[in-house]
């Protein structure tokens, strides 16, 4: 058999024959396809045109009603009120710019609202109805009704708008809802939010957005060729969002706000038995209703420039130098780690030096406090006791022990944006400042100064752990919910954090005695605040100065106060001392000392709460 030779020319000719054949078949096939299109589009056009005309059933989303927010006694803190808004369907408007110009003469909206609308119009589908202006006034409604014929594709639509009856009282807890903006659109489930215009922006509204929102419903409608609704066919109703019950008591919240009026500061009150937040105050505050339907630029500017920065949530995001309020926890570390017994005493001369170093650290009392044991060290807030103890503990053990009480990490309270504070350690300093740790920093860390930063939820939760015999709870604002008012309230179980912290109950007892001595002892720093009280309270004051972040700041912070220096007055405490039902952590910025500015506020809160507890 002869071996065939590859002949490129012959193969090419052969390929060309096959290619021409293929191409001819392809032309025939395309003609057949076009004939089939012709059959449907020309011969049977009338039949399909009629069927297409009947095909005008559209699915319209029905927005669910947002869940209500109520306080522990059922007082409504956030509800929904009927209002009207202006909507526009871009597809049905020939010249969008001209229409917006003409519309602006009937109903005033500013350039910002216009820009926001145009942005939304670019992102959503053109046949969707988009809100142009929310919450029309009666005047605007009347004017538009007269001019309506001029604006096809523009309509007034009733809706439910969020309302906060208590205004500024709960601004920093509940937060507010606002219009969905373009950036949020991509993060939301498009189906679930098809009919929704507002979304939680801050506070409870944001943290519990998913529960509050509810499930979208649908309306099947028949429309004409332009998409106008002719008839309603059937509907699957939306299911409203869940109603949330806060552990807050609006009466206590009101009382606390009244007590702190005119000041700049914050307060967190907890029930140490379950972590329920009883009051959550940051002053000054602002009216969240301004934000719901779009805040005007001038209003927003005014809030930004207002004294005391009302938009800043001090109770959640404020970081404060804990100062002496950290001493009970350092004392507990000394007892639990076996470095001290409660009767061990030191002698305070008024100055303290690290052996072999010349740097001096002072007591707040010139000449010193003399011989003090643990209880006296708390009652009189003796720095020397804690300088010495911190030095013996060392920063590593101190960091490890204090972090079990939750310092240096968010407490997990159910709000978005909680600050984590700083509980300094060697590795923290290496990472943040790229510097080694110095012994002098350990000394001032023992009195809560130096790099220490704590938040009010941390101080409150840690103090509650002492008040509650070592059991920590995650602070929480929502302690019950219900799917509707036809079903019973479903309480949420408390959220304990880890096992009880204190191994020896006697250690806890000693610290508690110290804290009681602060209020009731003959030498207690806050004894003035507890005068004539008909129950026993316990607590610890703290005074921090804002200029205190340098290494030698230890002297400045404890020396005599100079004019113009701004103190931050802190107080942590609980009552009644023997079986605590309320814990308070509070700060007054630009205040006097902790004993003079902060402790009396706590006393008034306790008084108010015990009175309210017994009230109907």
């Amino acid at each position: 058999m002869r071996t065939p030779i590859k002949d490129n020319e012959a193969e090419s000719a052969q390929f060309q024959r096959r290619a021409v054949l293929s191409l001819s078949l392809i032309v025939v096939a395309i003609l057949i396809v076009l004939a089939r299109f012709g059959e449907l589009m020309v011969l049977r056009h009338a039949e399909f045109a009629a069927r297409s005309d009947k095909n005008r059933v559209k699915l319209q989303p029905l927005a669910p009603a947002r869940g209500l927010i109520l306080d522990r006694r059922g007082v409504i803190l956030a509800d929904n009120r009927p209002a009207y808004r202006l909507e526009l369907v871009p597809e049905q408007v020939a010249d969008l710019d001209a229409t917006l110009d003409a519309l602006g003469e009937v109903i005033a909206f500013d350039a910002e609202e216009r820009e926001r609308f145009l942005e939304l119009a670019r992102a959503r589908r053109r046949f969707q109805s988009l809100p142009l202006k929310l919450r029309l006034s009666d005047d605007e409604l009347a004017r538009f009704a007269l001019e309506r014929y001029r604006f096809p594709g523009v309509d007034v639509v009733p809706y439910l708008t969020r309302h906060y009856p208590q205004g500024p009282l709960f601004a920093h807890v509940i937060g507010y809802v606002g219009r969905i903006d373009v950036n949020e659109l991509s993060g939301l489930d498009a189906k679930r939010y098809a009919g929704t215009t507002h979304v939680g922006k801050t506070g409870i509204e944001r943290h519990y957005e998913s529960a509050l929102h509810g499930e979208v419903g649908h309306l099947r409608v028949e429309t004409n060729a332009e998409g106008r609704v002719l008839d309603e066919l059937d509907r699957s109703p939306p299911s409203a969002g869940r109603h949330l019950y806060l552990s807050l008591d609006s009466r206590l919240q009101q009382a606390a706000t009244d007590i702190m009026v005119g000041k700049v500061g914050a307060l967190v009150a907890l029930d140490p038995r379950n972590g329920d937040v009883l009051a959550f105050v940051s002053v000054p505050s602002y009216d969240t209703n301004l934000f719901v339907n779009g805040i005007s630029r001038s209003d927003y500017q005014a809030l930004l420039e207002a004294p005391g920065r009302p938009l800043f949530n001090r109770a959640l995001q404020g970081g404060y130098e804990p100062g002496s309020t950290l001493k009970p926890f350092v004392a507990l570390a000394g007892l639990e780690l076996g470095l001290r017994t409660s009767s061990d005493a030191i002698y305070s001369t008024g100055v303290f030096q690290i052996p072999g170093q010349t740097l001096t650290f002072r007591d707040w009392k010139r000449g010193g406090h003399g011989r003090v044991d643990l209880i006296e060290s708390l009652a009189q807030s003796v720095n020397s006791y804690y300088y010495q103890l911190a030095l013996e503990l060392g920063i590593d053990r101190m960091h490890a022990y204090l972090s079990t009480f939750g310092f240096g990490a968010p407490t997990g309270i159910d709000l978005v944006g909680e600050a984590s504070g700083i509980l300094p350690s060697r590795s923290w300093k290496r990472e943040k400042l790229d510097q080694p740790w110095y012994p002098g920093e350990t000394v001032i860390a023992g009195i809560g100064q130096g790099y220490n930063v704590a938040t009010l939820p941390q101080l409150a939760a840690a103090t509650a752990a002492i008040a509650g015999n070592g059991q920590r709870f995650q602070p929480r604002l929502v302690n019950a919910e219900r799917a509707s008012f036809d079903v019973p309230i479903a309480p949420k179980p408390p959220l304990p954090v880890g096992p009880p912290l204190v191994k020896n109950p006697e250690h806890l007892l000693a610290v508690k005695q110290g804290l009681e001595a602060v209020m009731h002892g003959p030498t207690g720093t806050a004894r003035a605040a507890a005068r004539d009280v008909n129950y026993r309270m316990a607590g610890k004051t703290g005074t921090a100065q804002r200029v205190s972040r340098t290494r030698d700041g230890a002297e400045g912070t404890t020396g005599p106060r100079r004019e113009g220096q701004r103190n931050q007055a802190l107080f942590v405490g609980y009552a009644p001392a023997e079986a605590p039902r309320i814990v308070v952590a509070l700060v007054i910025e630009q205040g006097d000392s902790g004993s003079l500015a902060a402790a009396p506020v706590a006393r008034q809160i306790f008084d108010a709460w015990f009175e309210l507890e017994n009230a109907p």
Partner: protein
Amino acid sequence: MTFPANWSELGHRLAWLLPVRLDMPLVGALALLAVVSLIVVWSAGGQSADMVVKQALRFGVGFGMMFVAMRIAPGTWRRWTPWFFALCIVLLAAVLVLGEGKGAQRWLDLGVLRFQPSELLKLGLPMMLAWYFHDRVLPPSPQSVLVALILVAVPVGLIYRQPDLGTAVLVAGSGLFVIFLAGISWWWIATIAVLGIGSAAAAWPFLLDYQKARVTQFLNPDADPLGSGWQTMQSQIAVGSGGLTGKGWTDGTQSQLEFLPERHTDFILAVLSEEFGWFGVALLMLLYLFVIARSFWIAANARDTFSRLLGGAIAMTFFIYILVNSAMITGLMPVKGVPLPLISYGGTSAVSLLAAFGILLSIHAHRRV
């Protein structure tokens, strides 16, 4: 890369990018298809600027791939072919072992990208057969045809096992075209046709339920108008109501009122039909026909057997997609997820098609003189 010192240097660099033998008619026609795609996607996607921008970016990537593929000589493509084919087979086997997908295992998740290896075979199999025939005397001997049929059967069998009957048939088709173009005798063609029809009939009892459903639904779409026949019915209503001249751009009620499912992907031709009418469809088909004819012309003038067969197969495969998609839109074929080439919204198909046309452009640049 430094900035060119003067304009003539810049000119030289551009000349490197665009060789003298660039086939402008083909590139121009492909670019025109991309423009048509963006116009229809704007309407089908509900006038969303986002979608148009995304699709434009995909075309950018696709044309980039095309220019890269064009810079690689056909000889280099040929040398890579067996390795590429082997890789495809390994990936297909991997899908069977560890793939994922709804019901059928089609997808391979490589962490950064998920893709269907079966898509690669639509180019990989014709390449392999062209490589095989390149060194053989044509028309092929019976032994060569048998080897070629085995080369077709292996990947097709693996894809069928996934199970993905539709892709298996398309991949088999792309392979059989090469054998046909290689000059196989008509006796062989008749034999294979008889065997094919016979095995299809014999396979019917072994088809899976969803595969049978597709066929029965296609045979009688009105039987269950809200079930599997819904798409076919709505698609035909969209097409038929378009008439000769269409309802106008973005005015198609079937598409805009959301009756038509998958209107921006597999059913985009129905949107085009509804809004631009029969004339619009005819113009699109003419554009497609031009691309196919030009591709055959390039293949016919190719330098060697590999380039010829591969070029022809690319043109044929491109046509088959058009045919299957239009047949599906007009209810002539069961619903099958085949996009309309270069028009449907989506990246995989557009990018891989443009890369294949890049090979065709490379074949053109190295044609016989």
